[in-house]
Subunit: 118 residues, 2 copies
């Protein structure tokens, strides 16, 4: 029998899972995080170059969102011209293993068998 407490716990776990997948499931969020993991603290145009294909607006929205959920820190460096640097918080860094596992799972189960031999 499922007690009322069980039901509550299940819905709490669903909510936790959803919060994570809402972040990780956005088109650019995981690759931005992955880039910051690999390359460290970067400026807007560095990221834009590394991402290849992303538009200004989409990167901007993406970084805003990542800040708002506490995965990325934005720091304004007061040079001339002013620079801005983005880096991961520990929450962001802690996604590394999950991202690696997702990638590994994908390679194992999702790669349509490459038609490699000519």
């Amino acid at each position: 029998m499922a007690s009322e407490a069980d039901v509550l716990q299940a819905s709490g776990e669903r909510r936790d899972l959803r919060r994570a997948t809402e972040i990780v499931g956005k088109k650019w969020h995981p690759v931005v995080i992955s880039t910051l993991l690999a390359d460290g603290r970067r400026g807007f145009n560095d990221l834009k170059g590394a991402l290849d294909g992303i538009s200004d607006k989409v990167l901007s929205d993406c970084l805003d969102d990542l800040q708002s959920v506490g995965l990325v820190t934005r720091e304004v460096i007061d040079d001339k011209p002013v620079r801005v640097e983005y880096s991961l918080t520990t929450a962001g860094e802690d996604l590394e293993s999950v991202i690696e596992d997702l990638r590994a799972w994908s390679r194992e189960h999702l790669s349509e068998d490459l038609p490699d031999r000519s």
Copy 2:
């Protein structure tokens, strides 16, 4: 210096990651998988009941998609009335640890600190 080979590999890794997050990032996919992991092989209405809030159409679309990417198997049992049972493939089962890690990460970094003491 980034060689051409490095660039190609990076884009391949991005594609792998994207394939995984496209699945895991859908609103209901991870919770359907999670339910099948916990409860095993289930019928349409069992799942619908366990999911609470999902509509027929959305569950139907979701199961179609999970089949098409090879995570779920659909089996028609020829009783009267006919039953249909859904279960995970090994690719689906192999997502268990990733889903658990996502949940754990979420609890550690995303839970807005519960206002628990009255």
